[in-house]
Symmetry: C2
Subunit: 339 residues, 2 copies
């Protein structure tokens, strides 16, 4: 095993594309060269939810305060702490989201170190930010070079700067398993997810519930898959908040899709799940502990669970799309008008 | 006008009860005596939403990083930054919320300065925390001694420590207007809120939408009033997130209650509102700019708007309760079982 600045390569193992490794190293070096005192994750919708995993692990494990903002709130709130000692990580799939492009300009004017994550390095967001981290998208390349592999490498390399720990190098070293694990878990869950679609195809509302890092998956699933792509009403309920209001909505015919996380807040999910199972006949659980984690050290499962959850939850939306006859690509407003 | 440690008293004006003033001063002095480097607001449900106003203003206007956590997530996440230089403000109306009591113990063990806000100083939460800030509840006393007056005094006195500005003393000095303003705004909005109840009484789902400090009012309204007390499905959508997923749910018959804020992110609300008004026939707006702000300086409206919004939004729930014949006091599960 060749160890090189935290990124290591095993003989015969998939390797990250050279330009990606280079981009991430540039960001890590820029962070090392500055006195970074806080990290902002800024994006919209599903991109914000993805970045939130970074905030989760950084706040849990390092002394660097980190924050998540939806792009326009970031600009209008204008947090006082934002400045020369800030690292601002922005993300937009296409790199064209206007609010996020503006947020990059705004952060740069404040003197922050700005990093854009996108599939298109020629995009306005990447032009606007000081550093760019590119990921491949549906071009047949390995998941290590896709959105999860790239983002995880960036975050765990940064964690290794903020709070050095051999664990983070192991996370990076085990990321080449990602592609295989995604495929295995997709195989494992595709039948149950299709059954979910068959069973819930008449539902007008489906609640999601999760906690910890997984609340961001629930948020994505609710906002981008159920509401946006399937026109099904929803709300992503934090399982720690469930008993402080939302639980009174529970009834025999109210559907819940619960992500039972693999990590610190699993007991919160378990408690909420025990309750909804008792009072609703329409409860489906995605138990992250049931996922295939082959090749991943036991103590790293809490990091890899959120890396794999997105591919699994997506299947549940595919199931609904299949059985409602409502393809995930259909929109009423997006791409059809100015707004 | 007699100026004394930031709290001042005008001749003939309502005065905060001596024990409340004393409690808040004790907290402020304890904060001054320590090297506070970060602030955590920790509570559940509606109490968490109320505390979030503190995070909003502190992050917007001071260099002290601040964070909001639902109590159990706080304990399980165990943020690394939490320690001797942390101020942890916890809140529970009754002071009995078990997760919040545990969060207080947890924070104290970490060496943080803990402050409990509650209507009952004998409660477990107040026993657990180092400092207590009491507020009166429905005992006929002035709003200055109620939950809003007390919390606002605490937050703006703290802001005056973290980022001294004469504005914050003016906020505190103008808080004696609260009672009169709440009454006037309740009078102003009671008819339109009752009409709302009449018009929307058959709805099974009502979305709320807001941004900035008001997203927390939307969250409270969604979780505690619509879902908990009225059993109406809901989701509090951030108006900056609306176009990044949720807006595809909009249709002619999908109801939205939009809080158009008075403050930095008002343009976000306006943009979302323009859209929903075009594609839904069921849009109701609470425009905070329409509230009575008598006695409040123009540049302080952004602080006072969130202080007054709760009393106004509550009326909309009263309207629904009246016309659905479903009193806000009815529960299916709470107070009826262990969970």
């Amino acid at each position: 095993m060749k160890q090189e600045q935290g990124l290591s390569v095993k003989e015969g193992q998939v390797q990250m594309k050279v330009e990606h490794t280079k981009q991430i190293k540039e960001v890590v070096n820029a962070v090392k060269a500055k006195n970074i005192q806080n990290v902002y994750f800024v994006a919209c919708g599903g991109s914000m939810a993805s970045l939130s995993l970074g905030e989760y692990f950084i706040s849990k494990e390092s002394l660097v305060p980190s924050f998540v903002y939806t792009s326009n709130e970031f600009i209008h709130r204008d947090p006082k702490v934002l400045g020369e000692n800030s690292l601002v990580i922005l993300r937009s799939h296409s790199g064209t989201t206007p609010e996020t492009v503006s947020a990059a300009s705004f952060a740069r004017e404040k003197g922050a170190l700005t990093v854009a994550i996108s599939m298109d390095t020629e995009s306005p967001l990447c032009q606007e930010a000081e550093y760019t981290v590119h990921y491949n998208y549906k071009d047949g390349s390995d998941a290590l070079d896709g959105e999860v592999g790239i983002f995880y490498t960036l975050i765990f390399e940064l964690l290794n700067v903020f709070a050095p720990d051999e664990k983070y190098s192991r996370v990076v070293n085990q990321l080449p398993n990602l592609e295989k694990l995604i495929n295995k878990n997709v195989d494992l869950f595709s039948k149950v997810a299709d059954d979910f679609g068959k069973k819930y195809k008449r539902e007008k509302i489906i609640y999601t519930m999760a906690s910890g890092a997984y609340i961001h998956h629930a948020y994505s699933f609710t906002s981008c898959l159920l509401m946006e792509m399937l026109w099904i009403h929803s709300n992503a309920i934090h399982s720690g908040e469930f008993f402080h209001g939302p639980f009174e909505i529970t009834d025999f015919d109210v559907p819940f899709l619960v992500i039972k996380g693999e990590g610190a807040s699993r007991p919160l999910d378990e408690r909420a799940l025990d309750f909804v199972k008792k009072y609703s006949n329409k409860v489906e659980v995605i138990d992250i502990a049931d996922l295939v984690f082959e090749g991943i050290d036991d103590d790293l499962k809490e990091y890899f669970g959120p890396a794999l959850a997105g591919a699994v939850t997506r299947l549940y939306a595919d199931g609904l799309a299949e059985h409602t006859g409502h393809p995930l690509s259909v929109r009423r407003y997006m791409w059809k008008m100015e707004y």
